[in-house]
């Protein structure tokens, strides 16, 4: 049979296949913006160099540069010490009983049982734990000697700090410290607390107090900052993990995290009153976002929001809506919230 070539058949096949293109994406419906919704972006910056202290009542944000501190001393209630913020790359502490301060040297490091600090702000979860005993005129330090590992970024000679807490008297912490690898250098330091602040901060390299909390403790509710937490590797060995998130001021707010039940839009005060509020500084923390492997970006956890209870018994519902600015730069968390009348 002789083939009769019909160019129109061929042309129609070509046209059909060449006109199959990727469909333009349908537009999404504009969400109905809840009444009274307020939003704010907190510009930590791509390198997270900024800390932002936010007050719900005044909606004022105070910005300072992320602090260059190693150890912080509580100015509130019972004395305590934290290390999970600050610049250094590690935040582990080992405790040695029945040993003299001067005897601690590098040989002790091999037997050290390192403990991590936790960012909840609670004394029992801190690496130092309850390191002071109450006495009549204040507090005296436990007899233990602590060794603090500042991390690999420090010079080897100055990486390990040994500390002995002497006590807290007259609103001042007194402690003795020195370098494990440089026994000749020993310092006696007094840290005067500031009742208007939550913590006072100290730098071993500067051997001085570092300003890190720019506003009075009554004047902020949340701080967007960089801090650390320990996580376990696949073999169950803990290691430090540097995270960026929001820490709460336990003096001014308590928080309930909501993952199921009622969606953000439907949450009202009746629902809020049924919730259990926690006094953990990291209750909001960082896990309102999660890293999406598929797109290589952080995505907001869709159904997670928070209810904030203030010291004056006001209630807010709060949801994070973004972690990027319009240019796609990370480090710009955007928060939306509403007062629950």
């Amino acid at each position: 049979m002789k083939l009769k070539f019909n160019p129109f058949v061929l042309l129609s096949i070509v046209l059909f296949t060449f006109f199959s293109c990727e469909k333009p994406e349908s537009l999404y419906k504009q969400p109905t913006i809840p009444q009274g919704l307020q939003t704010q972006t907190f510009a930590m910056g791509e390198t997270y160099s900024n800390q932002l202290w936010f007050d719900f009542e005044t909606q004022k944000t105070t910005v300072n540069t992320y602090g260059n501190w190693d150890i912080a001393f509580s100015c509130q209630n019972e004395p305590s010490v934290v290390i999970c913020g600050g610049k250094n790359s590690n935040f582990t502490v080992a405790e040695f009983e029945n040993v003299n301060f001067k005897d601690i040297d590098a040989s002790y490091l091999t037997a050290a049982k390192w403990k991590f600090d936790q960012p909840s702000g609670k004394i029992d979860s801190s690496a130092f734990g309850r390191c002071f005993n109450k006495v009549v005129d204040g507090y005296e330090g436990k007899s233990a000697i602590y060794v603090l590992d500042l991390g690999e970024d420090s010079l080897k000679s100055f990486r390990y700090i040994k500390i002995q807490f002497i006590g807290v008297k007259g609103g001042a912490y007194q402690f003795k410290w020195g370098y494990v690898n440089v026994p000749a250098l020993t310092y006696l330091t007094q840290m005067v607390t500031d009742p208007s602040k939550n913590y006072v901060y100290y730098s071993f390299s500067k051997k001085d107090v570092v300003e890190n909390e720019p506003v009075a403790s009554e004047d902020w509710d949340l701080v967007f900052t960089t801090y650390k937490e320990s996580v376990n590797d696949p073999n169950g060995v803990p290691y430090n993990y540097i995270i960026r998130g929001a820490l709460a001021n336990l003096k001014t707010i308590s928080i309930a995290q909501i993952d199921k039940g009622i969606a953000y839009e439907a949450c009202d005060k009746t629902f809020a009153l049924q919730q259990k509020f926690r006094n953990n500084a990291d209750e909001i923390g960082y896990d309102w976002k999660e890293y999406s492997q598929s797109i290589g970006k952080y995505a907001i956890v869709p159904n997670r929001y928070y209810i904030i209870k203030t010291a004056t018994n006001d209630y807010f519902k709060l949801k994070f809506v973004d972690f990027y600015d319009d240019q796609g730069r990370k480090g710009y968390p955007k928060m939306a919230w509403q007062i629950l009348p």
Binding site: V14, L27, E152, Y239
Partner: protein, 757 residues
């Protein structure tokens, strides 16, 4: 003096013989215009009335030639199982014609196909001392395969991994990624992402055949050929054959493809120049198993490709100039983020561009000496563009510079061969050189100048007896990054010799139908630029190359038996059983080397062993073809310090059925493969299981209008496999992390129309 006189007498005699020669030459070539070596032809010598006086079974020499001094007309006959005439040939071969060229279609040679990988001229696969699997153009067409992935997924000895963005990668003999060499017309393909080449970027529209060699071919093909070689041979112009072909394909999961190719065997009647040209477009709209999400499980893709080849044929030489171009665009969407105020999302656009130039020249110096020069230049560019999209307004903003990435990869490869066949045809010697310069430019690779690799190799087919064939090979390698100075203090410190790569292959023809093969081969792989100089350190990542890496080396042992028997005119059977052992040392892998700093680095991990058995039985009866194959592969890897030991086993079986009715000439095909429980490894090294699955395709081909039109329709993935359970705790970079692994995009009805004009 007597000796000198004797030599003079001999030379004189030869000269006289030449002067008086009545030599006539029959040249036998394949579809590619390549001489067929050792190809059996029956010559029937005729008297003037056409009566057969006698017949003779001859085989072609190294140039694909048979020489005769007969002055009689000769009728030429070919065993129909070995091939058929491509173009009409006058018969008989008249005694007035000094030369005659015949061109054969050899793919109908169903139990003994022709292959070229590892040698200079096409030869029957059974004549190789190594085992070559050939997938013919016809089989590719019957599969309805659109790209190389769809072809190889029906091979039981190959494991496939698929990533929606990075594409498909393969494993041979338990070794994958960098350890499998993919060649297009014997030129290494470039553009590895995460060590793997995306074989779905190789369209099948212009492919003549695919050849697969398991086991190291490092002696001939250099680095990256530890696991094996896959060589894709594209169509070349055929003398005196003009052809126009269009293919269109549409299926139920959103593929719409079209391509066309045409060839002019000779641009004009007297011209020796042939032209072949092809172009095509493949479009895939994407598949999403969960329509409520914005991201697609299989990403939308558009591919555009084309090539042009010019063939210039002279009496003693042949020259092919080929250029091919390829572009692929993949759209990867994130899930939508509903953030109370608006709805946003991210789009990643991955654009891949390939340009390949090839100049291939063959020279026939004389009956026993041939030269081939192959020069190629390849470019690869992959551009990732990320935009943030306002899904309510439809606007897009390019995100920060750090999210955008362009990887450019260049390769210049030049190879030269000299092939020599001894007068008694007992030795075929192939000696050659290969130089390769490769550079990669991406913002995450700190080194800008490339790696130069030079090899000199030699291999010989030695016919010790009609039954025993030996093939020793050796390659000397110079690499400007690796190796040791052989004469320290004498040679400059920069002079380094990489490992010497030997191999030895042995074939024993136990009977007319049974061949036993055994081989030892050394393989090696030099670390690539990325493994050496990668640097991706930011607040979330700490992935670094390692300039202290050393070369991967391997010892490979293969033993096989190969039985092929044309039982009678209508039935034939083949059976192949092979066992292999691979011992790889210094295998390079990306590993988490420091928890505290979250440092991932390329390291030589220690030992990796794999062993396995492949078996295949094929039965032909009339127009029925049944192929049953299976493979069992056991893998073990062990760190140098013995701390990280992994062991996993993979079993695969395949069943292919093909039947062609005589009238009407309708063909039915069934291709199926079962993949047993498989294993993968998370970045932390933790193993995870992947559940078994079974994939089967069925189709029917109907030729119309004297085979000018071929309509094919069928169903791919009849059982609708989409995802299988995986125990991975996290998804891969481009996969979901919901415990499922994407395998295929579901049951898929397809229709294709091929028009041959």
């Amino acid at each position: 003096m007597k000796k000198l006189l004797f030599i003079f007498f001999i030379l004189l005699n030869i000269g006289f013989s030449k002067a008086q020669s009545t030599e006539r030459v029959l040249l036998v070539v394949d579809q590619q215009n390549q001489p067929l070596v050792n190809f059996e032809i029956e010559l029937q010598f005729l008297d003037p009335s056409g009566k057969v006086l006698h017949s003779q079974l001859s085989s072609t020499d190294n140039d694909g030639q048979i020489t005769t001094n007969s002055t009689l007309p000769i009728s030429i006959h070919i065993n129909k199982d070995l091939g058929k005439f491509e173009n009409p040939t006058r018969s008989p071969w008249l005694n007035t014609e000094k030369e005659l060229k015949i061109q054969l279609i050899t793919e109908i040679n169903r139990i003994n196909p022709v292959s070229i990988t590892g040698s200079l001229s096409p030869r029957l696969a059974t004549q190789n001392p190594y085992s070559v699997e050939v997938i013919s153009q016809k089989t590719i067409a019957l599969m309805g395969a659109q790209n190389l992935t769809e072809v190889l997924q029906n091979q039981s000895n190959i494991q496939l991994s698929q990533d929606p963005v990075l594409g498909s990668s393969i494993q041979l003999q338990g070794l994958g990624g960098q350890n499998v060499k993919i060649l297009v017309n014997s030129v290494p393909m470039i553009g590895r992402m995460n060590g793997n080449l995306d074989i779905s970027q190789i369209p099948m529209n212009n492919v003549e055949r695919i050849e697969i060699i398991e086991g190291p071919m490092s002696a001939v093909y250099g680095s990256d050929a530890i696991g094996g070689v896959v060589n894709i041979i594209t169509k070349k112009p055929i003398s005196n054959v003009n052809r126009v072909q269009t293919n269109s394909y549409i299926d139920g999961v959103g593929n719409t493809n079209i391509d066309a190719n045409f060839q002019l065997g000779n641009l004009s009647k007297k011209s020796r120049i042939g032209l072949v040209c092809d172009m095509g477009r493949q479009f895939f709209g994407g598949t999403d198993f969960d329509p409520s999400t914005r991201s697609a499980d299989w990403k939308p893709k558009t591919k555009l490709f084309g090539s042009i080849g010019l063939n210039y044929q002279l009496k003693k030489s042949n020259h092919l100039l080929r250029y091919s171009a390829f572009h692929e665009k993949i759209t990867d969407r994130s899930d939508a983020e509903f953030n109370l105020i608006t709805v946003t999302g991210y789009n990643n656009y991955f654009n891949t561009y390939r340009n390949d130039f090839l100049l291939l020249s063959d020279f026939t110096l004389n009956k026993r000496n041939k030269l081939q020069f192959q020069n190629s230049f390849n470019t690869y560019k992959r551009k990732k563009t990320m935009v943030r999209r306002n899904l309510v307004e439809g606007t897009e903003i390019l995100t920060r510079g750090e999210d955008q990435d362009t990887t450019t990869n260049y390769q210049a490869n030049f190879r030269g061969f000299w092939s020599y066949q001894s007068a008694n045809k007992k030795i075929d010697w192939l000696t050659g050189y290969e130089g390769q310069y490769e550079s990669i430019q991406t913002k995450r690779v700190t080194k800008r100048d490339g790696i130069f690799d030079m090899g000199i190799f030699s291999t010989a087919d030695i016919n010790l007896s009609p039954k025993v064939q030996l093939k020793p090979s050796v390659r000397f390698v110079y690499n400007n990054q690796f190796g040791t100075n052989p004469l320290p203090g004498i040679l400059s410190n920069g002079f380094k010799i990489a490992p010497i790569i030997p191999s030895l292959q042995l074939k024993f023809n136990a009977t007319k139908h049974l061949a036993i093969r055994g081989s030892y081969a050394r393989g090696f792989r030099a670390p690539n630029i990325k493994e050496l100089y990668f640097m991706f350190v930011d607040i979330n990542h700490n992935v670094q190359g390692n300039q202290l890496l050393t070369t991967e080396t391997a010892h490979n042992f293969i033993g096989s038996i190969d039985y092929r028997h044309n039982i009678n005119n209508i039935s034939a059977v083949t059976f192949k059983l092979s066992y292999f052992e691979n011992f790889v040392t210094n295998q390079i892998q990306l590993a988490l080397v420091d928890n505290k700093s979250n440092l991932y680095q390329y390291i030589n991990i220690g030992k990796m062993n794999s062993q396995g058995v492949n078996s295949q039985i094929e039965y032909f009866y009339n127009q029925l073809q049944i192929k049953l194959s299976s493979s069992w592969i056991n893998n073990e890897s062990l760190s140098d310090d013995g701390s990280n030991w992994k062991k996993w086993t993979v079993v695969q079986t395949g069943l292919n059925l093909m039947y062609t009715f005589q009238k009407p000439k309708v063909s039915l095909q069934w291709f199926s493969r079962y993949t047993g429980k498989n294993y993968g490894f998370e970045e932390t090294g933790k193993p995870f299981e992947i559940a078994p699955y079974f994939i089967a395709d069925m189709s029917m081909s109907v030729p119309l209008l004297n085979e000018h039109i071929l309509i094919q329709a069928g169903c791919k993935n009849i059982f609708g496999v989409t995802q299988v359970l995986s125990s991975a705790s996290t998804g891969s970079v481009h996969n979901n992390g919901n415990g499922n692994l994407n395998i295929a995009n579901g049951r898929n009805l397809f229709v294709s129309i091929k028009i041959n004009l």
